[in-house]
Structure formats: structure tokens, C-alpha cells
Amino acid sequence: MRHTKYLLFILAATLLSAAAYADDVTFHASAPAQVVVGTPFQLSYTVNQRGKDFRAPEIDGFDVLAGPYTSQSSSTQFINGKRTSSFQLTYTYTLMAQREGSFTIPPASITVGHESYNSNGLKITVLPPDEQPQTGGNTSQQAGQASARQGNPSQPTGSDKDIFVRTLVSKTKVYEQECIVLSYKLYTLVDVAQLTNNTKIPEFSGFVKQELDLGQVQTNLEHYDGRNYQTAVIYQTLLYPQHSGDIKIEPAAFEAIVRVRNRSQVRSIFDDFFDTYSNVSRQLGAPGVTVHVSALPSGRPAGFSGGVGQLKLNSSISQTELQTNEAVTLKIDISGTGNLKMLKTPQVEWPEGFEAYDPKVQNNFKTSAGGMSGSKSIEYLAIPRASGTYTIPSVQYSYFDPQSGTYKSLSTPEYTLTIAKGEGAAETVVQNYVDKENIKQLGQDIRHIYTGELEEAQPDKVKFGTLAFWLCYLIPLLIALTCFIILRKYFKDNADLSRSRYRKAGKVAQKRLKTARAMLAKNDRAQFYEEIERAVLTYLSDRLSIPTAELNKDNIDQLLRSRKVDERNIQQLHDLLSRTEFARYAPAQSDHDMQDVYNETADILSNLNI
């Protein structure tokens, strides 16, 4: 059986690697990880020292067809005079699975010297048998087809079910920047001699790709589509979608060299014993796939790092109490899985007075089939130039978690630094030249709502256009009119009185003069002068519209001058008034002719043109 050959090869390889262990006792169990129901396989326990009392575990779910067989091998080597020897004792069972499923074979034990050792346990997956068991007839039919095509060796041999490549994508619905694993897996029922370099891997446009180093190709047995295939991952890469939408991955192409058994037309008796094989090239196509990439949801937090995955943030500070001009280092570690290469370096807002240097970034990323994991550590170095207590604000860092479909925020704690004055060196003044500028308009938005108190309406308020409103004009107008009428009447009455007095002034003066004349005849000096004075003053009072009591020489002069009375007449009036005054208060000395005074008064009163 072809399978068995393969298995034996694997077994041998495992045994050899087990033998490479040093003198310590190793007790190792080995069996293929996948077996098929009804197909015998070998379970072997290997110990590298001479042991006894081997106790096999209870093997459930498998029929023990044969065993245990023991086999020993020992070898001694001299390399450059150094002797190395190895010993191997193997217990082998031949088992056959009864039913499909997953089975565990518990550890076996063995005693070496006086100590008991346990082997490792094994996990064996039992696959269902092929749906169409390869009966002899079937095989010969396929072989016949193969031989029929022999004339054209470039023609692929066997059907597409024998050997093909599948495209496996870990997810087909992802967010932008979320990692997916794409693998090309070879499924084969035939022997593959090698895969040539003649492969065509698509360009993966729309993705950032990171190829995974597969190392030694691991083969497995896998039940697929009713058949048990030998499988191997032949190409694996991590893909990070760079934009949203449906991104198509083009089909890939591989070339495999397949060993095909020859059947010569002429049958010889050796044919059944010595098959000959020829290598045939097979073109294998892997189908393309479409990945649905959805954009990251809206509402990105302010400090969004561009990270998609699961991240953790750690920070530490070298010291919190230091002196001026002494360096302080803040270290931020971002670790986790996701598109770590795309992560932005967080910004640390150093307080004023700190001289900050460019951060030192160290990436330690590992890529595996699980995605990219690792850490990014950033060291921020700053030197305080001024003493005091300062706070380094918390650094906000957020990423998108595709598992929960939300943005998550991380933050470092705040650090408070106490800076003492450094010895010796004078405190350097850190000068900060700030360019003056107007208030920068960052964005426009509506003004915020009004949050004050509301007040109730005053019910009796005068409203525009109402009667009350017009009354506000009408009432003052009426008041003003009334005032106008009253005032006018008052002023008019006043004016009438003074006018009548003005008109009668001459007559009144003449009357007084008549009385004076009578006094003159009686030669009553005192009475005469009094009458004369009163005649003049009453006349002036009536004509100038001011009360007699308020008359004196000064205001008489002023008023007369303002009425453009001749200066000579004013002087005359003055003389007359002072003479009568003098005569009244010093009657004895007055020798003036009363007749002259009388004539003069009459003259003045007629000449005074007011």
C-alpha cells in the first residue's frame, strides 16, 4: 500500500530524530496523527536505554492486529577520536481503527534502571474510509486509462480528483486591515515527487501580503469529499486588505511532478514484482476567491492608531524624581495581534520646559498562521530644563477590535514628575518663541443652546398697534396741548396788563405832574419833589414793564440803553433823579427853582422816547 510506505518513511524520520537525543532517558510514542478506518498502522514506543517492565496502555477504539514486537539497534561512532554510542529499543504494535472519530492513546510506562518513565500520549484522528474503496478492478481501470494516454506524456495523468490544490482563506468577511490567512493546500492520492518552481501566485492587489515561511512541508491525511487524501500546505501568506469592498484574489497555478507507475504492454512475469515508474508533470490550478471587506465603522476615536486587532498597552517611566538636565525615559509597549506594522507611534505631550527627542521605536513582530503578533516598544527620551512639578498627560491610543466590531481605547497613566534643581548648572531658561497669530478657525459649527432661565410673559404689556399703544402718543399730545393753551393764556394776560400800563403811562405821569404843580403853587417843597420823583419812576416802570421797587439807577441805565435811548437824555434823567433825591433829603439847602425842575421833568417825560 502506498500509504504505508509513506507512513514508514515518516516513522523512520521520527525515530531518527528521537535517537538524536542525548544520554538522558527518552521514552517516546509515535503513530500517524490521522489514520483511516480499516487500514492497519503502526504504533511504536522507543526508548534510548535498556529498559524493562514495559507496560502498554489500554488501547481503546483500535484493534491490535499484532505486537508488541521488540526491535533493538545500537550504534557506536568515533568522530575525531570521540566516541558516541546510541541505543534504541522499540516496541511496535500494528493497530487498526474500528470506527471514525478522535481517540487518545494514554502514555505507556517503562522502567529504566530503578526509575519508571512515562511516554507521551497520542492523539489519533480516525478518518472514514474512502467512499469508493479502491478495489483491484477499479485500480486496473484507472491504470488502463493512464496507459492509454502514454503516447502523449505531457498530458496530465489521472483525473482531477487524484490531485488538486484548494484555496483556503481563514475568513471571507473581514474589516479593513484585519488579517486573513490564505493557504494553498495540495490534496493528492498519487505520489508527488516534487513541486516545481513553475508556480504562478496571484499578485494580491488590494492587500498587503506577508508570506509565511512554511519550513519543512508537513503532510497530513485528510478526509475530503469522501476520499482520504495526503495533504500539504504548499503556500501560505497573511493578507491585510487595504480598502473596503469586494476584493478578488486571482486563481493560482502550480506544477507538480507525479510519479506514475508504468505498465508495459508486454506483460512479463516480473511486472508484478518490479513496477517501473515515470515522472509526469501535472498543472494544478487553485481557484480564486473573493473577500468581502467592510470599512471600519464611523465614529473613530480621536487617538485612533490605525490598528485593527487586539492590542495591549503598557507604559513605564524610568524615574519620577529627578534633577534638571537629567534624562527621563518613558517607555510605551504596544503588544498584541493585528496589523502591527501599520500602527502609528503615539505622541507624548511633554510639558513645557522639557526638551523631547525623537522616540526610538523597536519592533518585534512574529508572523504565523494565526496572524501577526508581537510588540512595538517606543522609548521617548526627554530632558527637563526647569525645576518644578510637571505632569505628563495620559497618552490615548485606540484600535479597532474586529471580533467585537468596536473601537477600543487604551491609555497610559498620567505621570507626575518632580524635578529638583540640578547641582551646579544654572537653570537654563527655555525660550519658546511662539508665532503670534489670530484665533485659528478650526471648524464652524452652530452656537450652543441657550441654557438660562425662561420667564413668563407679562400680561399687561403694551403691544404694537393696539389702542394702548396709540394712547401712549395721544395722551402726551393732549397734555402738551393743554399746557400750551394754559401757558398761552397766561402769557397773553400778562402782556395785556403791561400794554395798558404802557399806554396809560403818559397820562399817569401828567396827573402826577398836575399834583406837583399844585404843590408848587402851595410852595410845599417836600411834597413837590416826592410827586416829581414818583411821576418819573412810575412812568419808567410802566414803560419798561418792571415793578417800581426793582428800579434803580443801574438797571434804568441798562434798560434805556438797550432800547437805544439817546445818551444825552439818559444823562438828563440821571441829573433830575439825583437832584430830586438831594432836594427831598436835604430840603434846606436846596435853592433850586422848583419851577425849573417842573419844566425839566415835563420836558424829559415828553422827550424820553420809550
Partner: protein, 253 residues
């Protein structure tokens, strides 16, 4: 017993309602970003018949309502609220600013024909004070004019008479101007001829008829002047364009 409990519950509810007016609760919701609730509460405050708010307070509520609508991206409703707030308080600067900001977001760019700078200045000046203030100012100036007129008539000295005369005519003139301002503001407030388009896109027809020719298209938030009404249809002026549209596509300010 049941009734008693219900009564107590109602009382408690009333008390809590008194403790915080719908307006205050709305402001709280707004600050927390719950704009739907805020809008509902502002509307509840406006339609609350138990409290008669002063015009200015109503303008405040409308202004906040406009803000909440704006946050909900209801541009037309927000413009409508700001316009209504300005109707009640023409000197409400914040509402005017927000209105202008909201108007900058609408699609239609209508050339305002009244954009002559002098007119603009006068309007801006008029909007510095409310109708009531202009009204009282006019009355005060009228009284001043009357008083100084009396001084002019009856003052004994020439200077007082001259001063009285000039003050009187200046005051009378200003009184008339302020009265005109008050009248203009008042008519603006009671004007029902302007409306805001609430529909996203409206085809304006040539006649008040569904089958009329489409003349032009206006968008949400545009202010139109209503000039005529035929049944369900309104004749509107937008800039230089005249046409008919259905009344339920617009809301009168």
C-alpha cells in the same frame, strides 16, 4: 386604595415635573446627545398651555429646538425654528448666526435681491432692538419733542427757544423713524407670507396642477415668498423665479 396610590403617584410626578421644566430636561438631553428626546421636550415646552412664556423665552426655546434639529441633520426644520425665534426676538444674535450657518448648508443659492448694502445696514441696525424697544423709544422721543416744543414757545430767552426748536424737530423726526422701525419689525413678526421648503427636492410647476410643466427645482431649507394660494397649491417667489408648488412641501414660518 388603588386610587389613592394613583393620586400619590400623579402628585409625585407633578412635583418632579415642577422641579425640572421640560426645557431644562430637554437641555440635559441635548447635552447628552439624545437629540430625539430633546426635540420632543422642546416641542412639549412650546405647546405647554399652563405656562405662557414671554416672546424672548419662546425664542430661546425655538432656538434650542433649532439646534437640536440641526444636530439631527433636519436642516429645514432647524432653519424654520431659527426663523421663528427671530420673528419673536429680532435682536437674538445667536439665532441669526446659527440661521446663517444653517443656510450655508442648504443646496440652493438664492441671490437675495434686498441685498443692497444700505438696506442691509438699516435692517441690521433695526435688528439691534426688539419691536417693543423701538416702540418705547419712539414714544419717549415723541414726548421729548412735545416738551421741547413747549420750551420753544414759551421760553423767555432766545437761546432756550432756539435749542427747544431744534431739539423738537430732531426728536420728532427720530420718533417717526423709530416708529417706522417698530412697525416694520412688527409686520415682519406677523408676516405669514414666507415659508421654508421641508421636502428634500421639490419640482416647482408652472401652474397649480399636478400635470403642470416643471419649471425649476428647489431643495430643502430654501426660503420662499408666498404670493398666492389656490386650494392645495401655493404660488411662490424664489429669487427671480415664480412657480407653483403643493402646500405640504413647505411650512410657513
Amino acid at each position: 386604595m388603588k386610587r389613592l396610590i394613583t393620586n400619590i403617584l400623579t402628585l409625585v410626578l407633578c412635583l418632579t415635573a415642577f422641579a425640572q421644566t421640560p426645557f431644562e430636561r430637554a437641555n440635559e438631553q441635548y447635552t447628552q446627545g439624545n437629540y430625539d428626546e430633546a426635540v420632543e421636550l422642546y416641542i412639549a415646552q412650546l405647546s405647554d398651555t399652563t405656562v405662557t412664556l414671554s416672546d424672548r423665552s419662546k425664542a430661546y426655546v425655538l432656538y434650542n429646538l433649532g439646534d437640536a434639529y440641526f444636530r439631527q441633520n433636519e436642516l429645514a426644520k432647524s432653519i424654520l425654528s431659527y426663523e421663528r425665534a427671530l420673528r419673536l426676538a429680532p435682536d437674538f444674535d445667536l439665532a441669526r448666526q446659527n440661521l446663517e450657518f444653517a443656510q450655508s448648508r442648504i443646496v440652493d443659492n438664492i441671490e437675495d435681491k434686498s441685498n443692497f448694502f444700505l438696506r442691509q445696514w438699516i435692517n441690521n441696525f433695526r435688528h439691534l432692538l426688539t419691536t417693543g424697544t423701538w416702540m418705547w423709544l419712539s414714544i419717549a422721543l415723541f414726548v421729548l419733542a412735545l416738551t421741547t416744543l413747549l420750551v420753544f414757545f414759551f421760553a423767555p430767552s432766545d437761546i432756550a427757544r432756539k435749542l427747544g426748536f431744534h431739539t423738537a424737530w430732531v426728536a420728532l423726526l427720530l420718533s417717526v423713524v423709530t416708529l417706522a422701525f417698530a412697525a416694520r419689525s412688527h409686520s415682519e413678526q406677523t408676516d405669514r407670507s414666507q415659508a421654508i421648503v421641508t421636502q428634500g427636492i421639490v419640482n416647482v410647476k408652472s401652474s397649480p396642477d399636478r400635470s403642470g410643466t416643471d419649471l425649476f427645482v428647489i431643495h430643502e431649507g430654501t426660503k420662499v415668498q408666498i404670493t398666492d394660494r389656490v386650494g392645495e397649491w401655493l404660488e411662490i417667489h424664489v429669487g427671480d423665479n415664480i412657480g407653483w408648488l403643493r402646500a405640504d412641501y413647505v411650512e410657513v414660518i
